[in-house]
Amino acid sequence: MANKAALFNYILRLADTNLVLGHRLSEWSGHAPYLEEDIALTNIALDLIGQANSLLIYAAKVEGKGRTEDDLAYMRNEREYYNSLLSEQPNGDFAQTIVRQFLSDNFDVLLYESLSKSTDETLAALAAKGLKEATYHLRHSRAWVERLGDGTEESHNRTQNALNQLWRFTADMFAMNPDDKDLVKAGIATDLEKMQPTWLKNVEQIFVKANLTIPANAWQQSGSREAKHSELLGFLLAEMQHLHRTYPEAKW
C-alpha cells in the first residue's frame, strides 16, 4: 500500500487545480462576451468545481483526520494549496481565458485517460467521469483557439499574446514530487513526465493550424508542488473563502 500522505497530497493537487480554475472561470459569470459564452464558461466552471468536490471528499477520507471537503476547500491558506500555477492566472481578456483553458483541457484529457486505468478504484472512477467532461471542454476551447488565432489581426494578436504570457506556466503542470515515483510504480498516479511529449504534440498541432507560435526557449516558472504561488492565489482564496470563514456553520 502506497504512502497515505503521498496519496493525500496527490489528490489535493488534482482537486486544487480544478477548484481554482473553476473559480477563475466562474468570475466570467455575467461578464462573458455574449450570453451563450457566459453559459458555456459557467457550465465548465461547474464541472470543474464538481470534480474538485468529489476529489476533496476522497482526499478527506484518505487523510482520515475528520476534516471535510469544505474544511479542505475553505480553511487552507495559499501555502497549503497545490493547484497548478496556470490555473490561478487571471482571466485577462477572452483570449487569455481561452488559451489557459485550452492548455489545461489538453492536460486533463490525457491525465484522466491515464488515471481512469489507475489501480486506485476511486481515482479511476472519478477520472472516467472527468474524462467525458474534459473531452467536451476541449472541443469548446479548441474551436475558440482556432477561430481566434486564425481570425482577425486583433484576435490573432491577442491570442498570440496570451500564449506568450501563459507558456511559462506550462512546465509546472508536469512537475513531479519524489513521492510520485512510488505512486506511479503502484499504478495509482500518472507519470506526468512521460505524458508531457504527447501533450506538447497535441497542443502544437492546433497552434500550427491556428497560425500561432509557441514561444521559443521560454523561461519556465515552477513552484506549485511546494505550494509556492504568486500573490494572485491569495486574492482568489480571499474571495472564495470569505463567506465560509465569516459564517463557518452556515448551511443552505
Binding site: 451563450e36 458555456a40 464541472d47 464538481g50 468536490n53 479511476a124 472512477a125 472519478l126 472516467a128 467525458k132
Partner: protein
C-alpha cells in the same frame, strides 16, 4: 423487512428536479437499493460531476421514504460506472421529445459521440432535421442549445455522453 423492489417502485415517482417530466429512475440516476433489517441504502450517480440537482434528489429520496415510515435511509453518491445517456429509457426519450428537449440520439458506444455532430438530430417541435447548434452548452450541464432552421424555434438537446 421491506422488499428492495417495493422501495424502487416508491422511488420511481421522484422526478428529476431540472427535467420534471422524467423520473430519476428513467434517467438512470437511481442505481441500487439495498435493505439490511431496518437500514435502507440507496445508490445514486450524478449525470455530471457538478450536477447541482444531486442534493435535491437526495433530500427527495429521504423525505419520501420517511413519509412511508422508513426512517433509516442512507443515500450514497457513487461514481463508477460513470453515468451515460445510454441508461435513459426509450420511454423517457419520448417524454423528453414531447417536453421540447431533443433526446440523446445514439449510443455512446459510437466513438466520436462526444466530439462529433449528432447525425439524426431533429427538432422536437416540427421534426425537421434542418437544425443548427447555437452553443455546445445549454441551460443545464447535460444539454446543448440548438435552433430549428424551419420552424425557427430554439431547443435544448440532451448531449450524448
Amino acid at each position: 423487512m421491506v422488499d428492495p423492489l417495493e422501495i424502487k417502485r416508491i422511488l420511481s415517482v421522484i422526478p428529476d428536479p431540472e427535467i420534471p417530466v422524467i423520473s430519476i429512475e428513467e434517467l438512470g440516476i437511481l442505481r441500487d437499493v439495498r435493505v439490511e433489517g431496518e437500514q435502507i441504502t440507496i445508490d445514486i450517480t450524478p449525470t455530471y460531476s457538478g450536477c447541482p440537482a444531486m442534493k435535491v434528489i437526495e433530500q427527495d429520496i429521504v423525505s419520501l421514504l420517511h413519509e412511508k415510515g422508513m426512517d433509516k435511509v442512507k443515500v450514497n453518491l457513487i461514481y463508477s460506472p460513470a453515468w451515460t445517456t445510454d441508461w435513459i429509457t426509450e420511454g423517457a426519450k419520448e417524454k423528453l421529445r414531447k417536453y421540447g428537449i431533443a433526446p440523446p440520439e445514439k449510443s455512446t458506444v459510437d466513438k466520436g459521440t462526444l466530439t462529433g455532430k449528432p447525425k439524426n438530430l431533429s427538432c422536437p417541435r416540427c421534426g425537421s432535421k434542418h437544425v443548427e447548434m447555437v452553443s455546445q452548452f445549454g441551460s443545464t450541464a447535460c444539454k446543448a442549445l440548438y435552433k430549428c432552421l424551419d420552424c425557427k424555434e430554439p431547443f435544448d438537446y440532451f448531449k450524448c455522453i
